[in-house]
């Protein structure tokens, strides 16, 4: 009985953690190239409303996902032009992106606030899904959750086993050296930033199309910022990003379950939980600056242009 509830919570945590998985893995790739994009929140919001509109208009999940990703990538494109081509400060540009995304998504979503979507069906993988506990835990999710798992595997392979991943890490570590060896630092950073944007857009789409599934102004509610913190918490390693994402998924849903247990705590206090947890986690991981320095891309957040040597 209690075990059942535990499994239910675990499953809910995985679903609640999936937007973090997408956004944080995307940001991980962006940061590995040495670019700090603080606009995740804005990209997720615009991705969420774009995916939502596409789903509401066509009913096609694939189309919704593509729209969400494209919208996120376009947002990231603005950031990329500002920081990579025009060499603007990355912190200021990322903040601008978030502020813009908040406004744009609110504007686009004006006529969609009272629509509910059917959601995304769970796929029960035959045979496997029937295995007790394990079947529930691993084989009865919707397709976007499976895809996020596949994304994790692909990114881990890419970063640590492929030559392209090596190049990406090299560029984040020492763009000057990479340039001297003949790599097009700006082009590769563009791709990394756009990928990060597409993933943030997908994370937003997951929220509005599958998780909630509806559009509420500002519905990302800080998840983009938490994703940024997750990348630091994970010391730039994909497996730890996954762990962190599901941990925060669990914290996000904890508020509903606590009330379910009949404990009387004001809703606002429970809603503070993910934000306070983020701060605690950040403090915990930041104490050890050596680990951070060893794992963070050395050129993170620093403007680089080959002509500026």
């Amino acid at each position: 009985m209690d075990f059942d509830i535990f499994i239910q919570i675990l499953i809910a945590a995985i679903a609640a953690g999936t937007p973090f998985v997408y956004a944080a893995l995307g940001e991980l790739i962006t940061e590995k190239s040495g670019v700090l994009n603080l606009g995740v929140e804005g990209m997720m919001l615009v991705g969420a409303i774009s995916g939502f509109i596409a789903m509401a208009k066509t009913g096609s999940l694939l189309f919704a996902v593509l729209c969400g990703m494209t919208a996120g990538a376009l947002m990231a494109g603005i950031f990329a032009v500002l920081t990579l081509t025009l060499m603007a400060n990355q912190v200021a540009s990322g903040l601008a992106l978030t502020i813009f995304g908040v406004g744009l998504s609110a504007f686009l979503g004006l006529e969609y606030t009272s629509i509910a979507l059917p959601g995304v069906p769970e796929i029960h993988i035959p045979m496997l899904a029937d295995i007790p506990v394990i079947g529930q835990l691993f084989f009865s999710f919707d397709i976007l959750i499976y895809f996020s798992g596949a994304l994790f595997v692909a990114i881990s392979w890419f970063l640590y086993k492929s030559k392209s991943g090596l190049i990406l890490r090299g560029i984040g570590e020492a763009p000057k050296s990479a340039h001297a060896l003949g790599y097009n630092v700006i082009k590769i950073r563009y791709m990394a930033v756009l990928f990060g944007g597409a993933m943030a857009g997908l994370g937003g789409t997951y929220l509005s199309v599958a998780y909630t599934p509806m559009w509420v102004e500002g519905m990302v509610a800080g998840r983009g910022w938490v994703s940024l913190a997750l990348v630091v918490f994970a010391t730039w390693r994909p497996a730890r990003v996954m762990f962190g994402a599901y941990l925060f998924g669990a914290i996000t849903i904890a508020q509903f379950h606590v009330q379910g247990f009949g404990i009387d705590i004001p809703a606002q206090l429970l809603s503070m939980l993910p934000y306070v947890a983020t701060i605690i986690v950040l403090v915990f991981i930041s104490r050890d600056q050596n680990t951070i320095r060893l794992n963070s891309p050395a050129s993170l957040g620093i403007t680089y242009h080959p002509d500026n040597q």
Binding site: K163, L166, I167, R169, G170, E173, A174, K176, S177, A178, H179, A180, L181, G182, Y183, N290, R293, L294, A298
Partner: protein, 523 residues
Amino acid sequence: MSETPRLQLKGMTKIYPSVIANDSIDMTIAPGEIHAVLGENGAGKSTLMKAIYGVVKPDKGQILWNGEPVSIQNPAHARKLGIGMVFQHFSLFETLTVTENIALAMDDYTSMDSLAVRIKNVSEEYGLPLEPGRLVHSLSVGLRQRVEIIRCLLQQPKLLIMDEPTSVLTPQAVRKMFETLRRLADEGCSILYISHKLDEIMELCHSATIIRGGKVTGYAIPADETATSLAKMMIGKDLPVCSQDKPVIDGAEFLGVQNLSRASSDQFGTDLEKISFFVNGGEILGIAGISGNGQQELLSALSGEKPVEDNDCIKICGEAVGRLNPDERRNRGMGFVPEERLGRGAVPGMSLSNNAILTAHRHGMVDKGLVKFNKAAEFAKKCITDFAVKCGSKDDPITSLSGGNIQKYITGREILQSPTLLVVSQPTWGVDVGAANIIRQSMIDLRNNGSAILVVSEELDELFEICDRLIVIAEGHVSPSLNVAETTKEDIGIWMSGMFPGGPTDTDTAALESSRNEEQHAS
């Protein structure tokens, strides 16, 4: 030489907004030739080499490779042609392994494991052994250079460009590298050897092109020249010499360091091990050593940027200052010129005048918490005149100055405050000969006025020119001091590898070996 030249440059020109870096440069290198490109800092050597390696696009001119005109698009293209380059400031990735670093410059390899085997084989074949699995940040500077060299050798280059390769090596290691280069040349590889060190060029190179102010000023056979004649071609006049005429001053101990030990806060750094030395008023003490042996850590402890726990282990004029910050140490008469000029010694984005406030604010530039900008301007003007800083005005951003002029300004700013103790790191690194001479002379003058000066430098020539005594730093240990008049560069070179009494490799065998070496040099 009737055979087709390996590389021929015709009318190479590169223009930057503020300077013509290369102006119609012609040059020819035969197969198997070791060719020197000689010129002082800022003459345009590095730009020319980067153009050959495809990093910089020339605005005009032609490159003939084995007689064929080519337009080198990028470094990958250059490597495909058979051109390799060892950069002065290495192009390495610190948190990656040796193999990964080399893989990034290879356009064809099957797997990391097979590449690691090749690295091991080739490095041992050339007598430059490397461990492929090591992370680059854990390697010494000399070993890092080895990674760069092996990276080139793996591609069997037809032309190897070496940009100031010896600044990170002891005199003994330089000799060893020359053997490798001669062997490569014998195998038919051409070598472009960039340097401003005349003795090395005379020893190693078959021919030389001399560049000044972006233009070729002459071609020479170094073996037929003297250091003086080469220098004249390089700077257009005789090498300036500092006037010494040292008054005998029996100064008190202005800086005393006693048993300074500290684990480096940076895990890539060097731990300091029981460092003790002193500097008296009226003398210049030099610290020789290969970079990365604890100089940074020692300097940040001396400057107060990273104060030390034990207050007594650093004393300025007898007062314990270990725990004081740089500001408090300056109030006690210390001045400091760090090796990083922009971003540490000076603030990029600020004017010369505002950069004066950075350390000279204690000299009447602040009143009741408000800055007196006119006082700063006066100070800046004096500094510009006294130290011949070439600039538009005191209000110019410091970044608009050349490296030599920035260094003159920073050194001038510290000296104008009449420090009783001046600590200077790499006083003339990357500085042109004229500026270098002004800087060295100003340190000598300061000493003659009774101040104590500590100079950390990788350039042995410089230390021998201006210092009274020398100590050597190796792996965080410092050697006993030697009077400059009573030692040689060779001896200091041996000490630089750690073989000194109390040094990191001071085992009995090492001591024996070093004494045997000394005997060899003596004979």
